[in-house]
Symmetry: C2
Subunit: 548 residues, 2 copies
Amino acid sequence: MVRDTKKAEASLESLQRIFTVPEAPNSTLGSIEQAISQNLNRFLQDHIAATDRSLTDIEKDFSNPAIPEQPTFVSDHTEFLLDKLVSQSVHTSSPRFIGHMTSALPYFLMPLSKIMIGLNQNTVKIETSKAFTPLERQVLGMLHKLIYSQPETFYESCMHSAHHSLGAFCSGGTIANITALWVARNSALKPDDNFKGVAEEGLFRAMKYYGYDDLAILVSERGHYSLKKSADVLGIGRESLVAVPTDANNRIRLDKLEETIAELKARNVKPFALVGVAGTTETGNIDPLDAMADIAEREGMHFHVDAAWGGASLMSNNQRPKLKGIERADSVTIDAHKQLYVPMGAGMVIFKDPSQVSAIEHHADYILRKGSKDLGSHTLEGSRSGMAMLLFACLNIIGREGYELLIDQSVEKASYFSNLVANRNDFELVTEPELCLLTYRYAPDAVQKALAQATPEDVEQLNALLNDLTIFIQKRQREAGNTFVSRTTLKPEKYGRQATSVFRVVLANPLTTQEILQEVLDEQRAIAETSTIALPQLLAKAEEILTR
Amino acid sequence: MVRDTKKAEASLESLQRIFTVPEAPNSTLGSIEQAISQNLNRFLQDHIAATDRSLTDIEKDFSNPAIPEQPTFVSDHTEFLLDKLVSQSVHTSSPRFIGHMTSALPYFLMPLSKIMIGLNQNTVKIETSKAFTPLERQVLGMLHKLIYSQPETFYESCMHSAHHSLGAFCSGGTIANITALWVARNSALKPDDNFKGVAEEGLFRAMKYYGYDDLAILVSERGHYSLKKSADVLGIGRESLVAVPTDANNRIRLDKLEETIAELKARNVKPFALVGVAGTTETGNIDPLDAMADIAEREGMHFHVDAAWGGASLMSNNQRPKLKGIERADSVTIDAHKQLYVPMGAGMVIFKDPSQVSAIEHHADYILRKGSKDLGSHTLEGSRSGMAMLLFACLNIIGREGYELLIDQSVEKASYFSNLVANRNDFELVTEPELCLLTYRYAPDAVQKALAQATPEDVEQLNALLNDLTIFIQKRQREAGNTFVSRTTLKPEKYGRQATSVFRVVLANPLTTQEILQEVLDEQRAIAETSTIALPQLLAKAEEILTR
């Protein structure tokens, strides 16, 4: 609202003005924008509060369910947002915050985002997106080629064809995984003779027609929780997402996979999809994709690879061999808002066979008319923004070699950090990095020594105390706001499959230095030493074991 | 990439620089940003090409599936985007483009979007979003109160409770509708005795347990296509989305609804959800929600209202009575990127009963831990951006009274336009506006007179020719790029339910003037007169009928 009276008032004229007149550059909002443009990191450092307010306390600022009757001046509201929201947000792009999959963003994305939002295209159909449609199709083609390296003629005939689709751009990995399994389900229970297919007739009639007693999706026990959600949404049921045990390196055990398949088939259960994980969310490990492709092929299962986080590693010719077999997947999920350095909201699912998405094709009279090239006829979502433009810009500006450098330095940094952890006598590496993600915990030297010679009962006690200590450290560290690592629970083979709390770091931020990594460990040790419960108990217990 | 050599090169140093150094203000990207900030509309007018290039031609610029090996300078790529993408995008915010549900945006949203993208929060969990979590919960609370007006104590106990959720923010209306029907399905086939519920056990076992032969979702024949998609995804089957006939005003016929329910029940089919439409996408009409609520209540069906487009009308106390009954819905879909003037990507589903979403609750070890307030445990999507901030800002800055003015002036404009159409003797109103959406067609006076006295066979012929002419006009108008209306196909009762192509306008842009509306009709008439096939045939046929 324009500040022409002391109090903002709703009038048609003033409303029309907010649709036409930009804020003066010296307004609150104008100066913030300038500050962000000049140095985002400094702006965030200056405005994100150093001390932690409890969530319950923050909630007090966001407690009124009533939409204000009267308008507010833009500047007044901006000040509110600065004081109450920005100050209490998370500095996800900080090089010292190494616990998230969200990294710093290339600078050019901010002005480009502004263009994207100003254009406000809707990619559901050509009428509201025009050139954004071929652009998005090209981006999907680029990712397809990155994964599947089909010949040029393939892309010439498919990339811009109304009858094909190389994949779907979506808001994130969850929607991408659901889309892949939706295609898999509809293909497994496809139209046949006098059955119109599961899409038309539904799952109940499909199961009766095909005579299965149940369906199953197979994935390692490290599969992302979105797969369980997919099984629920798609009517398959969470129980039918069968978790296959993993080996010491968190990769699916092929012997157990074979056993599971045999057991399911004996019960007349149809395992219609196998999901390989390329970069598990918790440990960053990659399944043996090539061997899984063999099994999927033999069993006629849809082979999906969830590479939401790890897929970007294909950009590096040095890392690509780790994902060997991904080129045999029927579908692949990749999130551009993870290691492709695009802002939140850029997921993709890519299909090897560009006619596969016909299994989920939808049309309507006024849009997505048959034979049109409207993107919306093959997506789970309807109206969508022009996010693909940001990925397109990154792919062009950074280039494959640029991404290779970024990915490789992340992997090197993880290797450096894992050595750092292994060489400090009061830290313990829990999982080695395969890409740039690893887990570890704080365990004083005496405790590590005691663990080595403890009875199973003692190990259990020590582990429980270590878990308390890990949680204590991670929480205090987050509250202090100087550095951040995340936390998860694993059941490592080397700790007798006991539930083990661990620190988890993701080293994709190009601005994270070796010095910062050392500081993270120093800070964790310092916090540990302030523990007045878990640490003394741990040391006493270790002492008791070692002096037995 | 920084322009320190003639050719952009990938080096770690130059890469780190793109994460830290903003573009100089006089760079290409910098000047574009400045131009957008100063006058978006002028920027778009200057850069969106006036003449239409065919899609096939545009595709040539987006035809290379190879990710470039080498990096490109930011400025070079920006020039490419300007020349090839921006110039061939759609001016969705133009006051002369009245065919889309996308309108102009308030100016303050552009700098605010930049803050949102710079912060790059992930609202899946508190750890990556902090104050954005209570903010989003408050926004959902505000919409909940707008619809359901529960007492203050209700919001005090529910809005920030870990055990409740007033709804879900999502990318758009399709995901919102799927979420609502997912909750409805899981509630209808809930856990019971020794059955763990459809979420756990899947649809096949659920149907056997409950003993139904099929499920059904009921909606009028004007229901949005996303409902069919929902029925497919959820395993219910598109056939089980039962379309109930509408009356002359495109509202569900209650007698037919009752008949359908009786017929389904006689076949042992369980109609578990009834969907009311508050603003159909094609005609803008509102179902008799109150009467539908009675029926849903009596039959124990989940009552969902798809108010993706029309829901914003609740902001106006003058329009609110048209949506009477919405406050009895179990769930409501509202898109903020439609009449709440927020950029693309802001859908919401609101649940009356804040414990209903427990039917779709998901947890995982490392995030969304049980008892946490993480938003992700109740959303279909996983990682999500902080879009709720933009809606929050609009609700505060525009205020309810501001929205009331915006909504009311849209409705008044539609009423003005429908009079304009009705009073021109060569245009024909097809559907009256109930809110700000209406449909019409071009039909010369003689043709209208001939239609009034034609035989059914003649009517069919005339209609077919009119359809050709409507399509011809709409395409030419779009290609000329001066004004834009959209087009759909209806089967109006008054034209004997024949498929009828119509122009469709949505008058939500506050900058659209009465003069522009007159120009739209003038341009359409002028284009019609250039028709060398349909128009002469039509006039000849009309002449023949009138001189019989």
